[in-house]
């Protein structure tokens, strides 16, 4: 039986940040390689390094009558959000922050994406960035409630909001097996808060990059890094919630957490290039008429099983 993870000292926080950073860099490298392959360029892996060099060398800029403070807060916020999410993700036997309402903590943080992406779009005082911001909010209206109810399912099944206990409750049967709807909806939510792939109309080409239209230099770097970090943090959080935490043969628990997170992350990165974008107005219908009822039924099923069993 896996024990419930114990909180370690805050001095380990840089290690957690480093692991998140490594996952995010791996995601960026993979994305660069996939983009390079699609474009028929050899140096696919070097793309992300080149992009970082380019943005470090580039000057920051501002626009006329920009709301500088809010704009910069939005741009840096995604990265902060991702870091705060991983504080409650147990790495095998250790966790940074053994919060008794860890699931709610993550849920509260993912809502912050609304503020940060919107502020980045709004602060620039540019029409295209603003339109990008609107689009993100429209997506948010459709994905947020299903995402919340998706997080409810594992918590109900484990009868706990403590992330470590949710992971420990999956001995024998991972939650992803008997709550696949909640898992899929959760993954959609992660992709959405990272403004990734099908949820990227907020950064659309049609509005000159939308939210990012006016970002340059280190500001753009922070925003883009924040997206990768969010994707990585979302994949990491899925491990204790749906993928059995550190459970697995041979390898130690902490290694299994990293392996599972990496595999899920790779899947999410790969998804980006494979599917067209989901138009916010169309996705609104799906969110409310399909995803929300489906995930509520999933919750009901889980609740019945828990009470019956």
């Amino acid at each position: 039986m896996a024990e419930v993870p114990a909180a370690v000292s805050g001095g380990w926080a840089p290690v957690a940040a480093g692991l998140l950073g490594t996952l995010a860099v791996a995601a960026a490298l993979l994305d660069g390689a996939l983009a390079g392959r699609a474009a028929g360029v050899r140096s696919g892996m070097g793309r992300s390094a080149g992009e970082v060099a380019r943005l470090l060398r580039q000057r920051r800029r501002t626009t006329v009558a920009a709301d500088r403070l809010l704009w910069r807060i939005g741009g840096a916020g995604l990265l902060v959000m991702a870091l705060m999410i991983v504080t409650v993700v147990p790495l095998g036997r250790w966790t940074l922050f053994d919060l008794d309402v860890g699931v709610v903590w993550v849920n509260a943080l993912d809502v912050l994406a609304w503020a940060f992406v919107w502020l980045t779009g709004w602060g620039a005082n540019s029409a295209y960035a603003l339109v990008g911001g609107y689009r993100f909010l429209a997506h948010g209206l459709a994905y947020e409630l299903p995402l919340m109810f998706a997080l409810v399912a594992p918590a109900v099944a484990a009868s706990s909001l403590r992330v470590g206990e949710v992971a420990a409750a999956q001995q024998g049967l991972w939650f992803v097996v008997w709550m696949p709807v909640a898992f899929v909806v959760y993954c959609l939510g992660v992709v959405a808060i990272a403004v990734w792939g099908p949820f990227s109309p907020a950064l659309g080409r049609d509005v000159a990059g939308g939210v990012t239209a006016e970002l340059s230099g280190v500001d753009r770097l922070l925003f883009l890094a924040g997206r990768y970090a969010l994707l990585a943090a979302g994949a990491a959080f899925a491990v204790p919630m749906f993928l059995g935490g550190g459970a697995g043969p041979l390898l130690p628990a902490w290694a299994w957490v990293l392996v599972k997170a990496t595999v899920l992350l790779a899947g999410l990165v790969w998804l980006r290039r494979r599917v067209p974008a989901l138009r916010p107005d169309v996705f609104m219908e799906v969110g409310w008429l399909v995803l929300l009822p489906a995930v509520l039924l999933q919750d009901l099923l889980v609740a019945v099983v828990v009470i019956g069993g």
Partner: protein, 370 residues
Amino acid sequence: MGVSGALARLATRHAHLLVIEVPGHWLTRVAVERQAGVRGWRLAVSPADADILAVCGSPGPELALVVANLWEQLPGPRARIDVAAPELVAAALDQAEATLRDTPRQRRDSAGRDGPGRDEAPGGDAALAHGSEDRDGLEMDVLHVRLGPVLPDWPAGLVLRTHLHGDLIVEAQAGVVDVGQGGLAGGAPVVGGDTSGEARRPDAGELAAQRCDNVARLLALAGWSDAAGLARAIRDHLLIGERSAATTELARLRRRVRRSWLLRWSLRRVGLLPSDELARLGLAPNLTGDVWDRLNGMLDRATIAAGGPAGVAARGPAGVAAGGPTGVAAGVPVTPPAAVASVVSGWDVATARLIVASLDIAALGVVTDG
């Protein structure tokens, strides 16, 4: 110097270009896109995202003003190149690379710009946002936004002056930059196509390539980057005369597009144009249906044109290219800008962009009604 030199080299290898097509120079633009891709460079979506401003063709006075304005918005390090013809692209890109890599020169450029070290983007979009009005009893800000002439995947030279409620286009007027600088097609003044050389008729391969270019734009706007990349690759095959590779790939692209239920679901019911509406607006009759139908129509026309001139006569059944004037024999169809303005009104910006891209614009007519 060592570190900053290495940084400069690495950064320059991954430069982003903002490509501006002067109407009539699409072949030059395509050559820039292709050769930039070979170098591992990427296309920028906005001036803030760009290191290189590549102007394809020589802009008229109106577009020159826009270009100057955009140039000021490039954050820097920056380089500007003017490419007059497809064969000059390689040299121009080399020159841009050298300029970007030249750190002392970039430092001087940066020091010479307005603002104490920090740049202001003059003439930014702020000037466009003003006023507020009532709509359905709701207090709504009305934004006056000019879409174009420089936007990713946007018809060259087209400008839509829109009134936006949020991101809903409530009203639009169309214009074309530098009217009078364009060429002639069928005796009427037009803007677009390729007029860089002689006023010649494009051959079938070129027609097919242009359809593929328009398909790539629509797919890119729909957010499907892989398929858009494939369409661009087909376009490039067609332009360098690799007809058989192009037709194989084109068949693959058609299959992929037809099979994507997500794309179909996203493009269905958008921008429905019945045939009487098309006739009223002066648009080609083969543009009936919604954006999804028109995407498939474009792919069909590309396939027919790629089959060669003989193939058009032999394999152009009524069901495929339903009487459109887009066959090789008919030359390039001309899209009236007023029609574009009319079809986007009432849609949000995202859908409006899809609709514009679905019109398969080859050349724009000159606005006569102001």
